[in-house]
């Protein structure tokens, strides 16, 4: 046994002595390389070798101007002169101790102060307490959450729904859950603030198209198609999305959904639809903009809406196909990392859904009221009504801007104050001016609800007319 092995070994050593020189030289180099790697290589991070020189450092320090912790604010800054609201902001709202008719809260279906909803919420509070403060995937899920999800899915006729604890975070988490670095999002310029935050968090390439301008969108899609043809390898790993709002909160316009669906199939993009304003408002059964246009809901990849407007609860939801929605249960940051919706709010939302299902008449009443208000607000001298007739939140903009945003706002605010004195609660549309991507022009937002009577509307419109004639001469 030993002899055989020895013979092999001897042969091997023999081969080593007869090995070609180039082979041995290469091995020598490799061994030297190992030695160098082991003993003479220091760890370093590439691309971070740039260091500031002393002079550059000094210049930077010189340049820096400290900002005051609290900047000086003028006395008439709107944040310092706030109105105090007492009680629920339902049909009648008490502002600074004065009872007014509410034309400012997004309580379209009047469910905010509904006794049925309140009773259910109270019963749920007694049964579950205020909630566990745990995230859904951990110990925060209650049976009411699962019930609400299945009820929403049934209501929207989709496979699955997922609820978030905060309306703003719904679309802001849903977008980055699907769209990552290197992906492309086509988005309407008038998209609301929560969409903008979602886009920012996604780190994707954002391409803005002009508000509701399908030709502009098609131009961008064509450009992208050409680029994709040039670089098909890149195109294969790039996801493309269109993000639109059903009913735009900033312009009160409706998106041209059938046209968007056509573009979706032509250019192979996915559509995310934000329906916060249109859910529970548009359509015969309040299903939103898909029902309004008669578009098949399966043609929309993701629908997101918050339950803080028509549903009059807190939180939001996304719905769509199961494999789309299920993805969010592990990668929707707002779903994974925030405490679940308090069960009583989920119970309130379930009851609101029941009311909407039992009485679809409510949506035609709302539609009638909207067109009534839209009609009545036409032709106010100095003010221009923006929005479609069936939108429950309309904008009154100045016909002639003075060119300065703050003085325009001041003017609109004096109209609002005038109406407030006459017991009509209105509000100026507010924005985070430094953060908005495309700042909408200043406007007064008039919110229509089913609870407003003909007299309420007449009174509000005459107040606005009167104020406009006083302030906008």
């Amino acid at each position: 046994m030993a002899a055989g092995q020895q013979w092999v070994l001897v042969e091997m050593v023999q081969a080593f002595y007869e090995a070609p020189a180039y082979h041995l030289i290469l091995e020598g180099i490799l061994i030297l390389w190992i030695v160098r790697l082991l003993f003479f290589s220091k760890t370093y991070k590439p691309h971070e070798t740039y260091k500031l020189t002393e002079k550059e450092k000094e210049d930077l320090i010189e340049e820096w101007q400290p900002e005051p912790l609290v900047p000086p604010v003028s006395k008439d800054h709107p944040s310092l002169n706030y109105d105090v609201v007492t009680g629920p902001p339902s049909h009648k709202i008490i502002i600074n101790g004065k009872e007014c008719t509410n034309f400012a809260s997004f309580n379209f279906l009047g469910l905010l102060d509904s006794d049925r909803v309140k009773d259910k919420a109270l019963a749920s509070l007694k049964k579950y307490g205020v909630g566990t403060c745990g995230p859904r995937g951990f110990y925060g899920t209650f049976d009411v959450h699962l019930e609400l999800e299945s009820r929403l899915a049934k209501f929207m006729r989709t496979e699955e729904a997922i609820i978030y604890s905060y309306g703003f975070a719904t679309i802001a988490s849903a977008i980055p859950a699907y769209s990552k670095r290197g992906d492309i999002i086509f988005v309407d310029e008038a998209a609301c603030f929560s969409i903008q935050k979602g886009l920012q968090a996604s780190r994707s390439f954002i391409k803005y198209f002009k508000h509701n301008d399908m030709e502009d969108l098609e131009r961008l899609l064509k450009e992208q198609e050409l680029e994709d043809q040039k670089n098909p390898r890149k195109a294969r790993v790039t996801r493309k999305f269109i993000v639109v709002e059903g009913l735009y909160i900033n312009t009160a316009d409706v998106c041209p959904l059938p046209e968007l669906v056509r573009l979706k199939y032509k250019y192979k993009v996915r559509i995310f639809l934000e329906e916060s304003m249109s859910f529970g408002v548009l359509g015969e059964h309040g299903k939103g903009v898909t029902e309004h246009f008669g578009v098949n809901i399966d043609d929309i990849d993701l629908i997101s809406a918050n339950m803080e407007n028509a549903v009059a609860s807190i939180g939001g939801f996304c719905c769509g196909r199961s494999f789309v929605i299920d993805h969010q249960r592990l990668s929707g940051q707002g779903y994974c990392f925030s405490a679940s919706l308090p069960p009583m709010l989920a119970a309130a939302a379930i009851e609101a859904l029941s009311i909407m299902e039992e009485d679809p008449e409510i949506f035609s009443v709302l539609k009638r009221r909207c067109s009534q208000v839209h009609q009545a607000l036409q032709g106010i001298p100095g003010l221009k009504l923006v929005g479609v007739p069936f939108s429950p939140a309309l904008h009154l903009q100045l016909e002639r801007s003075s060119g300065c945003r703050s003085s325009d706002l001041q003017l609109l605010r004096s109209i609002v104050d005038h109406c407030l004195d006459r017991h009509v609660a209105l509000t100026v549309a507010r924005y985070l001016e430094k953060e908005e991507r495309f700042m909408p022009p200043p406007s007064i937002r008039v919110v229509v609800t089913v609870e407003q009577t003909d007299e309420d509307i007449q009174k509000a419109v005459s107040c606005i007319r009167e104020a406009a004639s006083i302030f906008l001469r």
Binding site: E11, L26, P46, K180, R181, S202
Partner: protein
């Protein structure tokens, strides 16, 4: 490394190669591959060594230098989508111990193979080519570089 608790690593790919268990597993797998090949009849010893070397280098090239991104859903919005595992290791820091280990191991295998193939020119050619395919992408100079756009997206 904390065992049994949740880690806070954004991208687990960055540190998975640092564990000694992975090193041992890698060495054992290579040995098992070699033994399995040896147990196949009609394969001569030099052929088995070259096969071990080539298969090892192919697997290394595939897993470290071809496949990009992560198998995990990372919370960094896909920062590593276009980076290979080698580029993700230790967040791109060069000459860390796991990088050194994974650079030296194919060289050692190559030297052993050379010895057992009796410095045969044909085996030399095949083995050297396969060695270069895993050594060149490991150079710091090729970090994040895609020659001729190969494997870019």
């Amino acid at each position: 490394m904390n065992v049994g608790v949740a880690h806070s690593e954004v991208n687990p790919n960055t540190r998975v190669m640092n564990s000694r268990g992975i090193w041992l597993t890698y060495l054992l797998l290579t040995v098992v591959l070699h033994v399995v090949l040896l147990s196949i009849p009609f394969l001569t010893v030099p052929l088995v060594w070259t096969l071990t070397n080539v298969i090892h280098n192919l697997a290394m090239y595939l897993f470290l230098h071809t496949v990009k991104g992560t198998p995990f859903e990372t919370p960094d919005q896909g920062k590593a989508r276009l980076l290979t595992h080698w580029e993700q290791m230790d967040n791109g820091i060069q000459f860390t111990s796991s990088r050194k280990f994974l650079t030296i191991s194919p060289i050692v295998l190559y030297i052993l193979t050379s010895f057992y193939t009796k410095y045969d020119p044909t085996h030399f050619f095949i083995n050297t080519c396969s060695l270069l395919s895993v050594l060149l992408p490991k150079l710091p100079q090729f970090h994040g570089v895609r020659v001729f756009g190969i494997n870019k997206y």
